[in-house]
């Protein structure tokens, strides 16, 4: 009886198992996504004419930016256990605001851009404030924005596109820098910023803490309300940036644009392995999720699939991808128990 082992080391071993597996699930998901994207590339280059062409690849990058610019911010929102469904209307509203401000209201262009960004930021912050101060679920707060901004954008324009006067800045936004579409460059820059913010700043880690256990975070001295306001202010700001890119691309402010964009963004984040329950997620995963969704969309167009039926295919693929992710983490979870 005296030669038995102490109880410490076995416990520590069990910990190591749980920890490594938790991380492995995320890794597995990312590896799986990379695999899926590679398969998509192989299949599409064999079946879809012109898929591998430089023009098409650049078009994919440009399309990716539509989702990506906001998806990085959305990742943190979802990690924090929140959701922002106001993205599509917010983007459209921002494009309308730019067109109206520069045209009808004669505001100097640079100032109009700043106004758009500021309004986007404040609207987001407003939704965040409703969540943080009064505990209105973020789904509801942003549902309000979703409805109001779409309505406002359509009302201000009578449902018609408002033309924008061309200028150098818009041309750059709509065009390319060194051959790379400008939106893709902005997406990349914002990605690097968010990667850094999420992992290397107190704010980023606080977001994970709030999502993992908001009450514990509060008792540890984190200002949870402030974090929540900032989260939605960021999605608001980046939706406004997307709006500017949209306006530049279309040459007009368009109140009816970007319908359903919020769901593409949320789908990309969730496919990337971020948990809707909060506390867990990765920007790298979201990056792959954005790539996955964009490539599918592009392929379906090239294959000449009926536009309505494209939505059906995408819906099935998105749920399937998340299902695989869930099954993977279940299996890992079962093994570690």
């Amino acid at each position: 009886m005296s030669t038995t082992t102490p109880t410490g080391p076995p416990a520590a071993k069990a910990d190591a198992r749980g920890g490594r597996l938790g991380r492995n699930t995320q890794r597995l998901n990312e590896i799986g996504l990379i695999g899926a994207i590679v398969v998509l590339f192989v299949v599409l280059s064999a079946t879809a004419p012109g898929f591998l062409s430089v023009t098409n690849q650049l078009a994919i990058l440009r399309d990716a930016a539509t989702i990506g610019v906001v998806a990085w911010a959305m990742t943190l929102v979802i990690v924090a256990g929140e959701i922002d469904i106001s993205i599509g209307p917010a983007v459209a509203f921002s494009s309308v605001l730019l067109a109206k401000a520069t045209g009808e209201w004669h505001i100097p262009f640079a100032l109009a851009v700043l106004v758009c960004l500021a309004v986007g930021l404040l609207l987001g912050a407003g939704a965040g404030f409703l969540r943080a101060r009064w505990g209105i679920p973020s789904f509801v707060a942003t549902l309000g924005l979703w409805s109001a901004l779409r309505g406002l954008a359509q009302y201000m324009t009578d449902g018609l596109p408002v033309p924008l006067d061309a200028n150098g800045f818009l041309d750059v936004l709509a065009g390319s820098i060194l051959g790379i579409p400008t939106p893709a460059i902005i997406m990349a820059v914002v990605f690097v910023v968010f990667l850094f913010v999420a992992n290397r700043t107190a704010y980023g880690r606080s977001v994970f803490a709030v999502g993992g256990n908001a009450e514990a975070a509060r008792l540890a001295g984190i200002n949870v309300s402030r974090i929540r306001v900032i989260l939605f202010a960021t999605t608001g700001l980046l939706a406004a940036v997307s709006g500017l890119l949209l306006a530049a691309r279309l040459g007009s402010g368009n109140g009816g644009a970007s319908v359903g964009l919020e769901f593409d963004v949320i789908a990309a984040v969730v496919i990337g392995g971020t948990s809707l329950a909060g506390g867990k997620g990765s920007l790298l995963g979201t990056l792959l999720g954005v790539a996955f969704i964009t490539v599918i969309g592009n392929g379906l167009v090239l294959l000449g699939v009926n536009a309505f039926f494209q939505d059906v295919v995408r819906g099935v693929i998105i749920v399937g991808a998340v299902l695989i992710n869930v099954l993977l983490s279940k299996r890992n979870g079962a093994r570690s128990a």
Binding site: M1, T4, T5, P6, T7, G8, P9, P10, A11, A12, K13, A14, D15, A16, G18, G19, G22, N199, R200, T201, A202, R205, S206, F208, A209, G212, N213, E215, A216, A217, L219, A220, G221, I222, N223, G279, K280
Partner: protein, 497 residues
């Protein structure tokens, strides 16, 4: 007592997990009508034994039998059908549903496709009567409080008419006064001929509930003995495997310094003119029964709640009540009572859970410094002997004691010098408890003020330099130094309800 009375037994049972032998050649038997306490540190093998008897795990060698039937190859459902009911530590009730609905969760009586509410209520009333408890079966479970919920959980298990009832730490989330109710229920159930296996860390309650106790250590059964005749020191020594003399050796040093934190005439929902002085260099215990205002006192002091009236002074200066962030910035730190719900961020690493209290300390010009985080965390992990594979291991996978030490480490990282600890030893094994006591002592010796709230009077009497006894939201007595005696503290706390 004949062998036919044996309800469940394990013969020469051995169970190995990778790298550890959880049960080693164990012989164990319980008889009908017997309440058997299972004692041992976390990891001693108690949980494995329970899992084997409930069919959740199977022995590598040896035999497990329930009413003469071997459990080999049987699943938990089969074993339940043999008459084994298990109540685990975590409650599995739906708070929004009524007691009756919860009692029949998933097996609601139906007639012609619709719920048969009358039958359900009648069945629920009968189930509550069987355990001798009077709880309104129509009230939502969430409205009951922890003790009531635990009783519903037991009632649900007993309603299956088990021959063996296994209770895994049924009282770990209950205050001392509520434990009484659970004990009464367990006795009632045992008198009906059910064999009960009762796991707990609290000696006092084991004495009241159990006939015999089996002490487990390192996967072996050390001894099975009648609890009434065994002394606590003897049993603790068996659990720890050390001589009784090594267990307790305490010195009390009430501080003579002026208070660093003091409150006068605090009034709130639960506080009723509370006065308290917290001095640097000592461990101040707060004793009192459930509802006496222990947690509320801490929350008011740290600024989480704003009292309706009263004054709080920190280092002689009046502070604005309810200014939580400011209080943290000025050196206060609190570890909450409910570690899982309010203490830890389970998916985050131990390291980040520690440094979260002050991320500026591990940042350079606004950017987190990974090396600084690792160093800071490593130092505290070593200092508090937190058992974790790596600093980055998700804290949710650690044992309760190690989680608690990490939550305490959080405030050491922040450099807090007034530490308010709410039930820091709840649900923590004996070894970790001792380490937490040692840390409190070291911190007090270091000149910090430690406030220790506990519903276990024994440990307060054991570690504190001074004890304030609360009753009905007021401090009714203060004992310091040699005035502290277990019986006295206990008597003061429970006197005139």
């Amino acid at each position: 007592m004949s062998n036919t009375d044996v309800v469940a037994e394990v013969r020469a049972g051995t169970k190995r997990y990778p790298g550890v032998t959880a049960l080693s050649d164990v012989d164990f038997a319980v008889r009908r009508g017997e309440v058997r306490a299972l004692l041992g540190k976390n990891g001693a093998g108690k949980s494995t034994l329970i899992k084997v008897l409930s069919g959740a795990e199977h022995l590598d060698s040896g035999e497990a039998l329930v009413r003469g039937t071997s459990l080999a190859g049987l699943g938990t459902r089969d074993v339940a059908a043999l008459g084994v009911a298990t109540v685990y530590q975590e409650l599995s009730l739906v708070p929004e549903m009524t007691v009756a609905e919860n009692l029949f969760l998933g097996a609601w009586p139906r007639s012609r496709g619709a719920l048969d509410l009358r039958r359900m209520r009648a069945g629920a009333k009968e189930a509550m009567a069987r355990i001798g408890v009077d709880i309104d079966v129509d009230s939502p479970v969430g409205a009951l409080g922890s003790a009531g919920q635990q009783l519903v959980e037991i009632a649900r298990a007993v309603a299956q008419r088990p021959t063996l009832l296994i209770l895994d730490e049924p009282t770990s989330s209950l205050a001392a006064a509520e434990v009484r109710q659970v004990i009464d229920v367990v006795r009632t159930v045992a008198e009906q001929g059910v064999a009960v296996i009762y796991v707990s860390h609290r000696m006092d309650e084991i004495r009241q509930v159990a006939d015999t106790a089996t002490v487990v250590r390192d996967g072996r059964i050390v001894e099975t003995l009648p609890v009434r005749t065994a002394s606590t020191h003897e049993i603790v020594a068996m659990m720890l495997g050390t001589a009784p003399e090594a267990v307790a050796a305490r010195t009390r040093r009430p501080s003579a310094e002026p208070p660093v934190l003091s409150a006068r005439a605090l009034v709130s929902d639960r506080l009723n003119g509370l006065d308290i002085d917290v001095r640097p260099g000592e461990i101040l215990g707060i004793a009192g029964v459930l509802g006496s205002g222990r947690t509320e006192t801490l929350r008011a002091l740290v600024g989480l709640d704003r009292p309706a009236s009263g004054e709080i002074r920190l280092r002689g200066e009046a502070v604005r009540p309810g200014a939580f962030a400011a209080m943290l910035a000025r050196g206060l730190g609190m570890t909450p009572e409910n570690r899982r719900r309010e203490g830890i961020v389970p998916l985050m690493g131990v390291d980040e859970n520690i440094v979260i209290s002050d991320l500026r300390k591990v940042s350079r010009s606004g950017v987190l410094d990974r090396r600084a985080i690792r160093q800071a965390a490593r130092a505290l992990i070593d200092r508090l002997a937190i058992k974790t594979a790596r600093p980055g291991t998700p804290i949710g996978t650690l044992s309760g004691g190690n989680q608690q030490k990490a939550v305490l480490a959080r405030w050491l990282h922040a450099g807090s010098d007034v530490l308010l600890l709410d039930e820091p030893t709840r649900g923590v094994d004996v070894e970790a408890k001792r380490q937490i006591y040692d840390q409190m002592r070291l911190l007090a010796d270091d000149g910090r003020a430690v406030v220790f709230v506990s519903s276990e009077v024994e440990e307060l009497a054991d570690v504190c330099d001074r004890i304030v006894v609360l009753r009905g939201g007021r401090a009714v007595a203060e004992l310091s130094g040699d005035e502290i005696e277990l019986n006295r503290v206990m008597a003061l706390a429970i006197a005139e309800e």
